[in-house]
């Protein structure tokens, strides 16, 4: 699966504040890239620009060479970029299984005509999706709760469901906003193990915003450090966290 994301000089302003100032990043195929930086450094804004929730004022977002700048969120999804939310947003009154099935890409059963008159068109698809959903449930250890309302899950399970939905969508690149925040350490390591194995087996790429450096750092290939809307350091994890500029930005000089 090919996946190559680049942002070129992406700039985004809110009122008088420049949230992103000419940001260039690249997520290479089959890689796990991490974005770090103190509060207000622009990490989530960058995710929102890439996922189509904000339009950048300047610059471009390229995915596999296509210019996807300013596309709407549901159009971005179609390119294979899928995002997760910092605070999980499950469909609360639906079962865990339905939450997963909803993430299926271009389900023919989601059109009125097919739903009513062409069951043969979507039943097959639904069956495949169900098989896949079971794999995902097993992978994320959510089998026991598959027929529970999403509203009844624990905080950690909701985080997993958020990731599960992204996996169901046959992504090429997953944008993750704090996947392990508020998750206990052993589960957090499990989540990161999953991410690495997905990269290795399905060859997915990840762009991860996370503060839990203690947990995540060991798993990633490359780190971008941001401060005040700019990229201030990039490279191998060990290099970036010992970069004096990064330490300075965190400590607030």
């Amino acid at each position: 699966m090919v996946s190559d994301l680049r942002t070129i000089n992406v700039t985004k302003r809110f009122g008088g504040i420049t949230a992103l100032n000419s940001v260039n990043i690249r997520v290479e195929p089959d890689s796990i890239v991490m974005l770090i930086g103190p509060n207000g450094s622009g990490k989530t804004t960058l995710i929102n620009v890439i996922a189509g929730y904000y339009k950048p004022d300047k610059g471009h977002v390229l995915f596999n060479g296509f210019d996807i700048t300013g596309w709407l969120p549901h159009e971005i999804f179609k390119t294979g970029i899928v995002r997760t939310f910092q605070i999980p947003r499950p469909f609360k009154k639906l079962s865990v299984l339905d939450n997963l099935l909803l993430a299926v890409r271009s389900n023919p059963g989601e059109s009125i005509i097919n739903a009513l008159f062409r069951a043969e068109k979507w039943k097959e698809r639904e069956r495949e999706a169900l098989q896949k959903a079971y794999d995902v449930l097993e992978l994320l250890d959510l089998e026991r709760v598959k027929n529970k309302k999403a509203a009844e899950l624990s905080g950690g399970q909701l985080k997993l469901l958020e990731i599960g939905r992204a996996l169901m969508a046959e992504p090429k690149l997953i944008l993750m906003d704090e996947p392990v925040a508020g998750v206990n350490p052993s589960l957090a390591h499990e989540i990161m193990d999953h991410i690495v194995s997905l990269r290795n087996t399905l060859r997915l790429s990840f762009l991860i915003v996370e503060h839990r450096l203690d947990i995540v750092l060991d798993y990633v290939d490359k780190v971008y450090a941001m401060s005040h809307g700019k990229v201030i350091s990039v490279g191998k994890p060990s290099r970036v966290i010992s970069d004096p500029q990064v330490v300075e930005a965190y400590l607030g000089g």
Binding site: K93, D98, N107, L116
Partner: protein
Amino acid sequence: MIDILRIIVDFTAFYSIYLMLSVSLNLEYGYTGIPNFGKVMFFAGGAFTVGAIAGRMLAPLAGIDLSKLDYCMNNVYVGSLVSRYLAQHAGLALAVFIALVIAGSLVGAFLGWLASYPSIRLREDYLGMTLVVSGELLRIVSLNYDPLVCGTFGAKTPNPFSFLSGFAMDFTRSAFMFTIAMLTWLIVGRLVKSPFGRLLKAIREEEEAAEALGKDVVKVRMKVLMLGSAIAGAAGALYAFYIGIVHPSDYAPLRTFIVWVMVIIGGAGNNLGAAVGALIYLFVDRTLAIAKTYMPVLPFDLNYLTYVFLGIILILVLIFKPEGLIPESLEVREEIREEASQ
């Protein structure tokens, strides 16, 4: 005996109309979360289609030259001549009936498409107000603009079942109406059980998450409002034929309220709930209407007391059982699961 049968036949006709309305509102509000406070507008759209077209279209066939007489001043007369003509041409009569019900639903869908423009952009409170106001705007225009449904005169609708008479006619008409209503109910029931129905609930629960999963929320809302309004339009057309006259003042906001009562009491987000809600409402309403004829003369119109009761019941349900009598159920997808495990 025939009295009871007549009551049942009359009940069935009304039930068909209200079932369609509550099913359509449930689709919009219960499943998709669109608070349609202007239901009566789409209902009126269907009824006005019949009122505006039926008499005028069929008059030449009955040998009336509309250029020589004022249709609105004479529409009762024209209507009865047309009915008499249709009595001789059963096939044509039924074709006209079906065609106009379809036309009514198309007009409903068109109005739904128009209404979907603000409904996509507005918050729920603003949307609620907008739909109420739009419904009233349509009523004021129809009351004053004669070429539509003859304003305050009202437009007589021809009776497409006049080839029958007496109980046979009432029975056949109710049977037709009930068939259409049941078909609607079954179709919507099938729809909400499908992946499309699942998508509707997802949009209701978390709009942004649905977008993040590639769903075109705007388009889906638009489709739902058009479909719901098409059903309401068809119900309006049936109502126009059943009552025999289309009078704009009949399409007051109170009708919207009644449909909400049915959906909330029955249980929003459950297709069976919509059917049960309509049944309960109609049972109370018809019982009171019949009881009225046997009761001593009250110093006021009993209908008003009915509305007071309905209002109180609605508030009590909202407070103590907001999920309704038949709450939304969790979809377990047994059938497909079994097939998958094979």
